[in-house]
């Protein structure tokens, strides 16, 4: 962020910054998540949103259930082959720029469901930005992943003007 220069425009404090920085700052602190909740992790995601852990401290509490209004997909839970086309379709419906957090080992790698019906990692179907281990991850671990994603958004070269 820029420098505060008092005295300008009749004594009102003014903040200077570049458009780039302002955009990055706004983008990373106002993520609109869409929960693609399937299993146990979705229950724990409810805990993340709930009063104790409170995801709104990170500006991501406006959970949207329409992919068209969201820019962060949280895949929480096991994704099976039967569900894979659905996941792909919903991801495609989100507008760019968009990010994905893979919450829990099932979404990340299939977890201990190494069998005929479980997709062995959602990255076979959609790109993933942050993987969160745990079965399910504790809410603090998820919040850590969210902060990692914020760092990533901040330094994402694809989003820069130049």
């Amino acid at each position: 962020m820029g420098v505060i220069t008092p005295g300008q425009s009749d004594g009102v404090p003014v903040l200077t910054t570049t458009l780039q920085q302002a955009l990055d700052w706004a983008r990373k602190n106002s993520l609109f998540p869409i929960p693609f909740g399937t299993a146990c992790c979705a229950i724990e995601f409810m805990g993340v949103v709930g009063p104790t852990f409170d995801i709104s401290r990170f500006g991501a509490e406006a959970v949207r259930f329409s992919p068209r209004q969201a820019d962060l997909m949280i895949v929480a839970g096991t994704v099976v082959y039967k569900m894979a086309p659905v996941l792909r379709k919903i991801y495609a419906q989100m507008a760019d720029p968009k990010w994905v957090i893979s919450m829990g080992v099932c979404a990340s790698s299939g977890g201990f469901y190494d069998d005929y019906c479980t997709l062995q990692g959602i990255d076979q179907v959609i790109p993933v930005d942050v993987y969160v281990p745990g079965c399910p991850p504790s809410p603090d671990l998820f919040l850590d992943a969210l902060m990692k994603l914020q760092q990533k958004i901040d330094s994402d070269r694809r989003l820069k003007f130049a």
């Binding site: 693609f36 909740g37 399937t38 299993a39 146990c40 979705a42 229950i43 724990e44 409810m46 805990g47 709930g50 009063p51 104790t52 259930f65 839970g77 096991t78 099976v80 082959y81 039967k82 569900m83 894979a84 086309p85 659905v86 996941l87 919903i90 099932c106 201990f112 469901y113 190494d114 069998d115 005929y116 019906c117 479980t118 997709l119 062995q120 079965c135 399910p136 504790s138």
Partner: protein
Amino acid sequence: MATLDVERVRALIGEDLLGDRSSHGDTAFVVRRPGIRRIAQALRDDATLQFDMLMDLAGADRSLLPPKDRIERFEVVYNLYSLWNGWRLRLCVPVPEADPFVDSVHDIWKAADWAEREAWDMFGIRFNGHPNLKRILCHHEFVGHPLRKDYDRTRGQWLSQLDTLEDELEMAHDRERETLRAQGNDPADSNIGERMLLNIGPSHPVTHGTLRVLVELEGEIIRTAIPEIGYLHRGFEKCAEKGSWNNVVPYASRLNYVSSLANDVAYVKAVEKLCGIEVPDRCKYIRVIVTELARIMDHVVCNAANLVDLGALTNFWYLFTVREKIYTIVEKLTGIRLTTAYTRVGGLSHDLYEGFEDEVRAMLKEIVPFLQDVIGLVKKNRIFMERTVGIGKISAEDAIAYGWTGPCLRACGVPLDARKRDGYYFYDTFDFDVPVGENGDSFDRIMVRFEEVFQSIRIIEQALDRLPGGPVNTGNNKFTLPPKKELFRDIEPLMNHFMIVMFGTPVPAGETYDSFEVPNGELGFYLISDGKGKPYRMRVRPPCFYVYQPYVHIIKNGMMADMAAILGSLNIVAGELDR
């Protein structure tokens, strides 16, 4: 309570009786395939026996069992329950591989409809006369039958696109046309086929999970509803066959992940029945306490989510505070908040931590005001009542025919509670009530859950008062790992430890069915062991599977908005529904 009149059952089965497989206190008969419909009808309609509930129907592939236990490659297993007598009966029907056909019993017990589809999906057993025998858990492009012993566990199959469900829609239209004709109306005058189609799910906020319902709307009224499940079918029963008996505990935790502790207990109780071992009293009391804690969590989360569906968000924050208070204790006890895996065959993973009793007592006192606040907010609330009273009704007869158990059945006025009836783990000595509803509507289901939370608090307080000292594991070192201290001192514990770790718990060969009252109803496990340290076949009887089956009939001709409210009150957990 009188015991089951076995001779009467034998007489009813008559010449179709192939053998007696009763063991472990279960009554089980092997019967000939052609007679199954006659026997089913006779058992259900007999005035004394009254086997009015089909608790579970499952297939089994016995191809790798020793020849003396194998009549044919496949078997269909019917677990029956007589509600008013409290009797259980198991029927096994051998089915040859070359000609895998059995007569369907879906019109005798409505619960059989989906269960037979599952047996077809998993084993390729066909049911004559079933109206809609298509895959239920695997996707429609799947080839083969995954629970057969010759299907490689890790061979996944991709799905290119979702089932359009057009075939089932067409069948529903045909049924409707027939009804119209029977009433003397011309189907051509109706708007069948012209109504608005709306696909809800499998990823939709109102379904709280991965359920899909295709509905046909006339204005806001649902005229046709087609369900599809299996979007969270993650192969519990196949995975259970890969490791030792104790390796299944973490999988069991993830069946109903809202109340993992109760599932843990249910599973090991079934295995202990098969082993014929008794756990110490302290272990039993601890299992009661954690089960009841799980019940509180489950009911609280269910009602919280349901109230959000109705637009009452405040209650969600209040009730989740209750949940977090319990989670804090669960995390301290088991090391994880949600998926606990706290039990082991023959005991527990570890004893309670110091100060557990006082913390639980204090926590129980703290949560009561939150619950009372929420009940005060909703119980006489006009909006809440208009959305729930008389909505989503089901009659007790239908609920029984569909195999409902748990709070949903009790809301219909049927006081079936395995804790009271079977009295395992000293439940018969605790002073608690079984709340029942009157109308079987959403309101009753929600209120039954709230009342059960208070009853669970009573049970926990009594169990804490009586909690004895002593070990939590059975002293039988064949089944439980010896204490670490002895392991380094003596050769015998070291050998026992080695045997259990390398070759698994030595569960003797045999089979049994055991039931346990989890928050959602009866969670049953039908286990077959071949004595080799691994489960040979594990069938779980999920309460949700049977509760969800008539859902589309309940929502039919109701408002679109009530669909979500009814679903929430049934408490369908996808992990348990699809396994």
